[in-house]
Every structure is written in C-alpha cells, then in structure tokens.
C-alpha cells in the first residue's frame, strides 16, 4: 500500500476517535452540572459559564466549533485553571514516557533471554517454572502488586519512597510494577515465537552445515522469531499505556496516566480529549511503524501482498 493511502487512513482513524470521544463525553452528563452546583447558581451564571467553556448550543454546534479549533491547533482550555489543555498534557508527558521507556527496557531485558531459554528447554522443569512465574506475573493486578511493593520496600524496609517523583529511586517501584507484568506476557510471546522458529527446517539445515549453536540461534532462529513478535508490538504499547494510568495513580507519579484519571473525575473534558487523541496518535504511529518494520523483517511480506 502506498504511503499516502496509509497516511489518509491514519487521519481518518484519528478523526473517528476524536469524534467518538467528543460525543461520548457529552452524552454522559452535562459537564457544567458536574462542576457547578445548580442549587447555588442562577441561570445566568450557568449560561455565562457555558459560553465561557464552549458548552453552548446543541452538540452538533459544539462539535463544529471544536473541530475547527482543533484544526487550528487549539485544543481547548483546562476547566480547572484555564490553562491550555495541550500544554498541560505535554508538561506531564515526559514523566509517562520515562516510565514506559524504562518498563519496556525491563520487559525486553527479561522477556527475550528468559523466553528464549524456556523455548530451548521446552517441556523441562525449568520451562514449567518460567511458565508458572509468567502466569503469576500477568494474573496479579497492577495496583495490587504496586501496593505490595510499597508495603514491603517502603513501609517495612524503608528502602524506597512510597510515591512521587524527584530521584531515580522514585522510578524503581512503578517501573518494576509495569515492567514485570509486561515481561510476564512478553516472555510467553517470545517463547512461543522461538518454539516455532526452532522447528523451522532452515534451522536444522543451518545446524547440518556445522554452524555453531550461538550463530544458529542469533542469525537463523531470531530473525524468524522477530516476525511474529513485531505484530504484537502495538498490543504491548497499548497495554503499557493503560497500565501507566493505574500505576501512576498508585505511586502518585505525575504523568498523563494520573492526569486522565483525575480529569475524568473532574469532567475536565478538554484534557481528557487531548490525552485520548495523543494515545490514539501514538497507537496509529506504532501501527504504521510495525507495518514498515514487518516488511523489513520479512521480505516475503511484500511478495505475499502481490498475490
């Protein structure tokens, strides 16, 4: 598929998401009533508030104004303090990126070696042990695991701060919480991809040529196992973002995850819209990259598209 067609599709996806979120947020209750108590207000005050924050008129009229603003790069203002919603979100983004980046590193550093090892020992006691830990890792809820860590490492042992930000120490527990949970899932994916790749005839044939075990693994098994792994990448990125929302709340981490939880509770619609749009944008870009990555990893992919 041509790049232009892909981009067009990405823009359409983004537009659909923006529209859906806009409508859904406005159908789930009058945002003004959630902020102002109608018993204490005159109708005039309510109306002027509506006008101020763009909640005036029918949903269709509001939508037209909103979409025009968005196209001009104006994403609305935070209902809390009147600051630009986009700037507010961007301020909190680095903290989340830090968290997700570090968690992804943990996931890869644990998942690839352990998954590979389990695949090579498939059916053994070690394999069973790894699989049990993996099940434990993704069965335990994030918030519970996080609280458990706080209880042991902060409250009992006083090694780490319970939450907040400011030093590398603050990062440790949130990253372990997300990283270990995602590593548990990723290990399984790596194991099954490696198991399939190990069974390939070309691996036997590489061994028959007398290549060393390490070389067979790195140059023949890995490249083939990466192909299915690439396709689950967007899934993992999406999972990390939603895990961040919970974990940031548990550890009082000042990222966009916590921001969206708070903003939904406050019905701070502009902020919610910006964050969802941002997440959607990240997912769309990830998918685009994976498509390109896939074609690069597997030269057969473009040939298959031709048939």
């Amino acid at each position: 598929m041509k790049l232009a067609a892909r981009l067009l599709r990405a823009v359409i996806s983004l537009w659909l998401i923006v529209t859906f979120v806009f409508v859904a947020l406005r159908l789930t209750g009058d945002p003004v009533i959630a902020v102002l108590n109608p018993d204490d207000m005159t109708k005039d005050m309510m109306d002027s508030y509506r006008k101020l924050w763009g909640f005036e008129g029918t949903i269709g009229e509001q939508y037209l104004i909103y979409i025009t603003n968005v196209m001009h790069g104006n994403f609305g203002k935070s209902i809390l303090n009147g600051r630009d919603a986009f700037a507010t979100v961007m301020e909190r983004l680095p903290a989340t990126l830090q968290l997700i980046g570090a968690s992804a590193a943990i996931m890869i550093l644990i998942g690839i070696p352990v998954g590979t090892w389990a695949a090579m020992k498939a059916g053994s006691k070690w394999d069973a042990l790894v699989m049990s830990f993996s099940t434990f890792g993704f069965a335990i809820p994030n918030f519970f695991f996080g609280l458990l860590l706080i209880l042991v490492l902060s409250v009992t042992l006083h090694w780490l701060p319970t939450g907040g930000t400011g030093s590398p120490l603050h990062l440790i527990m949130p990253v372990i919480t997300i990283g270990v949970a995602k590593a548990a899932v990723f290990t399984r994916f790596v194991r099954s991809a490696m198991l399939d790749a190990l069974k390939l005839q070309c691996v036997t044939s590489a061994r028959a040529r007398g290549l060393s075990g390490a070389r067979v693994l790195i140059r023949h098994v890995f490249p083939n196992a990466l192909v299915p792994l690439a396709t689950i990448l967007p899934l993992l990125v999406g999972g990390m973002i939603s895990a961040a929302a919970v974990v940031e709340a548990v550890f009082a981490w000042p990222g966009i995850g916590r921001l969206i939880v708070e903003s939904v509770a406050q019905r701070n619609l502009a902020i919610v819209q910006v964050i969802i749009m941002l997440v959607a944008f990240v997912m769309i870009v990830t998918n685009l990259l994976v498509d390109l990555l896939y074609a690069w990893l597997d030269p057969r992919a473009s040939a298959a598209a031709a048939n």
Binding site: M1, K199, L200, Q201, C202, T204, S205, A206, R207, A208, R209, G210, L211, S212, G213, R215, R219, H220, P223, N224, V227, L297, D298, P299, R300, S302, A303, A305, A306, N307
Partner: protein
C-alpha cells in the same frame, strides 16, 4: 555380521545395529530398529520406504541431527568418526567437513528472511576464516556456478522466495558441498519439485558425484527415482531394513512382497488398452473456449496479468477418466475451480451434464482435494461428517442416511468400523477414501480429483486408483483427474489433456500419448518420468557408476 568387503579401503559410512527410540515424556517408541548398512566411497546408496518407515530418522541420526529427544543405540562411523560420541565442537567440525545434507523442501531449508548471499558467506567464513570479502565473494560465485546457476551475482542478493524451487534446490546442493564432504545425504530432494525439474536435480547430483567422487545416500519413497541411478538399495519398513543389495539384483528379483508392491506402484503401466468408444456416454463436462485472467493486486508485479486459461476447450464424457496434466502454475487448478463453479470464467462456456451452463456450485459435480486430512474436520467422527453432507441436502431420515453411507463405504472399499473414528486415527489412504465417499454421497456424475494421490503413500495409491476405476466401470462416473504424475495417467486415464501457461497443448487418447507425443512440452514431461528406465533395468542393463558388492549384505 557384516559381509566381508572386497575393497581394501574401509567403508566411508558404517551403520551398525542402529536403534532409535523417540522419547515422549516417559513413553518410548522405537522408530528405527537394528538397522545396519554401509556405504563405500563413490557409491549411490538408496534408502527406500514409505513415510513413517524410519528412513528420514536414520539419515538425520547419521548427522546426529534429530529434531526431537531420542535415545540411540548402536554404532555409526562416518568418515572415520564415531558420530554418536562426538563432542559438540567435534560434531560441528564433522558436519562442516564430512557430510553435506539436502532437504525435501528447499524453500524451507533456506532461511526465508535472509538473502542467499548472506547465508552462503556465513557458511564459507567457517571454512575459510582468513578469507577477505572479495575472496569470499569469488568462492560463493564459484560454488553457485558449479551447480549451474545462471547469473550467480544476482542470486546472491535474492531471497529464497524469489527463486524457483529447482533453483533453490541447486543452491542447497551448493551449500551442502561447500566443505567438500565425501558423503552427500539427500532426504527426498525432489519430492517438493515440479516433475520436469526433478530429473534436472537428480542429474546434477549425478554430475557432482562423478566430478568429486562423492558418495550419495538418497532417501526416497519413490523407487522410480532411484531405479536407474542408485548402485545399492535398501528397503525400509516399520523401522527395519527388509531387503537390500545391488540395485539391479534387487529390482530383477525382489524377495519381499513389500518390495514388489513398491515396485509395482512405481512402475509405468506399459499395457495401454484403448477402450471402445461405446464405453463412454454423453458429454458430462465441456469447456468451450474458456478464458480466465487474473490481475495481481500489489507488490512489484502489481497489475501484471496472469493468464490462467486461454481459450481452453475439452470435454469429459460419462464413464471417462480424463487426466489434466501440467506443472504448478499451468492453470489446471483454475480449470478445476471453474468446473466447480467456484471461479467464473471471463469468457467462453462451461456446460455440465450437457444441460445448463454453470451458474453456481452444482451437486452433480464433486471434488476430492490433495490433502485428505486437511479436508476432514479433525474434531468430528467420520460418521458425523458423512451424515452432515446428507443432512445439509435435506435427507432427514437417519436410517436412510445410514443405509446410503454404508453402501457408499462399500463402493470405496472401506469397512463400517471406521465410522466411529476421528480423522487422526485414519491412515492416509483411509482418509482419502473417506473424502471420496463424502463426495460420492451426493451421487455426482462428475468427480474432480485435484492431485488426490500426492499426499498418499505409494503402497496405498493403488487402492485409491482401483477405487476410481471401479467408480468409472460400475457407476459410469466421469472423473477429471488433475495430476503432475504421468505414471498415474498411464495407469488409469482414458484421455490426457496437457496444459501449459493456460493453454491446452495436447488432448489425446492415452494409448497415443506415450508413443507419439506431438507437442515438445509433452515430450519433455514424458522424458522426465522417473521410473521410465525401470524396464530397461529389468532387461539387465548394468547401472552406471562404481560397482562393489560391499554394500549388499546377504
């Protein structure tokens, strides 16, 4: 226990009382039992047997390359090394220098995500650790040239999927010979290739053998392939060698019933009889100038037009078996799909039962696919699958359905005991007959069989062919048989239609097909029949190649 050797050199490969047990948890299953043979330098040793006979396991054990956990007993000495007791580094060296291996599916045996060049350099670097870039490149090109690959420079940058099966197998042979080993193991090297390419690959292996004094261990289920090439032969069945000796002697007077059955399956039927015209009824399927083009939808070749059928005309009459022959890509499967009403032709007319033009699928036309196990639902018992067909077509009375099913099973030579089984408990031959029975339940007048025998063992093929013959002779069913195997054609077809690149290049009664094929392509196909020289061999013509009796044990 081994016969005294007449040569003074010690044999290149000795397999002595080899037993292999597959370990599955606590259970052990013997797949190779007490197998002994030896191969001398320069010999061409064929290990023949049907799938599951243990021949592949034997040759994988020769390189200590079994893909599953197994226990091995006995002694294997290849090129002076005790294979089963080598350390990992000795084993690597042994695989590099002493034995080369060629596999069944060359596309799968080459890494699909890396270029041919990167894989060949990787192997060459092992053999020439000090060689520079340019030197490696020269070595790689020389290796590709030695197996007659044209434009070797371009092939280095190609991925396996961009080359044909035949070219990939040449690349594999080049790979296997990079270390100049004295022994080449070939595990069904032509089974996955088109027929006209098979002979080329076998010829190439002969050439390599003559050039380098290479010994070849050929593993195959097809006696036809080895009859005119191998110096020695061993027949395996259920993990044991049941017969062995010098090829010529074994072929002339097989001692075992099993060997005879293998021969018969591989031999070409030379007693072709033309059946009288009144044996056939009215036209049952006719193609009248049918054309079909496909346009490829993406990638580099986007928009290219593929001609699957170009003014194709032929007729199948009631009670006639017509063989549709051609290589993959010749359009024969598209023709079958059009006859089924699954693909609509661009132009031309297809008539079924001399009546109406095909609009959609017609119950009067049924199809039998290549892989019987894939066309049966693995979770359903045979009886449920057969009942389902009748239920869908409105037969509500269970007793009537059961009666019809048992009658049909009798027609295909199956007992009713298979009704309670699931497909995994059926042999390949049984499964294919169940598929045929399922097709017959709707009382079709035309049966289309798409490569119905290629997934079935040689010994079982005869049962299925007999079943087709009986259907034709007793029930007057017309059969359109799609195949690439001309031996099957000679065995049961009444008429042969040869297709190439969407054209019908030959349409002739089978009696006149062999002797005076008019089309050049048909001639090439007939020349490529592997078993063609079997009869010459039986006339005691000595096989080519070095001769010694040491491989034969009385």
């Amino acid at each position: 226990m081994l016969a005294p050797s007449v040569t003074h050199e010690s044999p290149l490969c000795i397999v002595d009382r080899l037993t292999v047990e597959v370990i599955d948890g606590l259970a052990r299953k013997t797949v190779v039992e007490d197998v002994s043979f030896q191969i001398n330098k320069g010999e061409y040793f064929a290990l023949v047997g049907e799938s599951g006979s243990g021949k592949s396991v034997t040759c994988h054990t020769l390189m200590n390359l079994l893909p599953f956990p197994a226990a091995t007993y006995g002694r294997i000495v290849v090129d002076g090394q005790k294979v089963l007791s080598l350390t990992p580094s000795e084993l690597r060296r042994f695989r590099q220098k002493s034995v080369g291996m060629v596999f069944q599916d060359p596309m799968a045996a080459l890494n699909p995500v890396r270029t041919i060049g990167s894989q060949i350099f990787e192997t060459l670097r092992m053999h020439h650790p000090k060689a520079g870039r340019d030197e490696l490149r020269e070595l790689a090109l020389a290796a590709l040239r030695s197996v007659h690959i044209a434009q070797p420079e371009a092939r280095l940058n190609a991925y396996p999927h961009q080359l044909s099966g035949g070219l990939n197998q040449r690349v594999m042979i080049a790979f296997a010979l990079l270390g100049n080993p004295p022994l080449l193991i070939a595990d069904e090297p032509t089974t996955a290739l088109d027929m006209s390419v098979q002979a080329e690959i076998l010829d190439l292996m002969d050439e390599m053998r003559a050039q380098r004094g290479l010994a070849v261990l050929m593993v195959t289920h097809d006696l036809g392939i080895v009859g005119d090439r191998a110096t020695h032969i061993a027949v395996m069945k259920s993990g044991k060698i049941v017969e062995r000796g010098i090829t010529r002697e074994v072929l002339a007077a097989p001692k075992q019933e099993y060997t005879k059955a293998l021969f018969e399956a591989a031999a070409v039927n030379h007693e072709l009889k033309e059946r009288p015209d009144h044996a056939y009824g009215a036209a049952c399927l006719s193609f009248d100038k049918v054309s079909k083009r496909f346009r490829t939808s993406g990638g580099k070749s986007k928009g290219e037009v593929v001609i699957a059928a170009d003014e194709v005309s032929f007729t199948v009459k009631q009670g006639e078996i017509v063989a549709l022959v051609g290589e993959s890509g010749s359009g024969k499967t598209t023709a079958a799909k059009m006859a089924m009403g699954l693909v609509r032709p661009d132009s031309g007319k297809i008539t079924v039962n001399a009546a109406r033009e095909i609009e959609t699928q017609d119950v009067g036309v049924q199809i039998v696919f290549q892989h019987p196990k894939d066309s049966l639902d693995p979770l359903m018992k045979v009886s449920a699958q057969l009942h389902e067909v009748l239920k869908v077509h409105g037969e509500k009375d269970e007793a009537k359905r059961a009666a019809q099913i048992s009658a049909t099973l009798r027609d295909v030579g199956l007992s009713e005991s298979i009704l309670d089984r699931r497909p995994s408990f059926l042999s390949g031959g049984e499964a294919q007959r169940v598929v045929i029975a399922r097709a017959l339940l709707l009382k079709p007048r035309l049966l289309i069989a798409d490569e119905p025998l290629s997934a079935v063992d040689v010994c079982l093929q005869k049962q299925i062919l007999d079943c087709f013959k009986a259907l034709r002779d007793k029930r007057g069913i017309a059969i359109l048989l799609i195949t690439h195997d001309l031996r099957i054609v000679f065995d049961i077809a009444d008429r042969v239609v040869v297709m190439k690149s969407g054209h019908v290049v030959e349409d002739v009664g089978v009696a006149h097909f062999g002797d005076e094929a008019r089309d050049a392509y048909t001639k090439k196909l007939i020349r490529a029949i592997p078993g063609r020289k079997l009869s010459d061999l039986n006339d005691a013509a000595p096989p080519a190649g070095p001769r010694s009796v040491s491989g034969a044990v009385a």
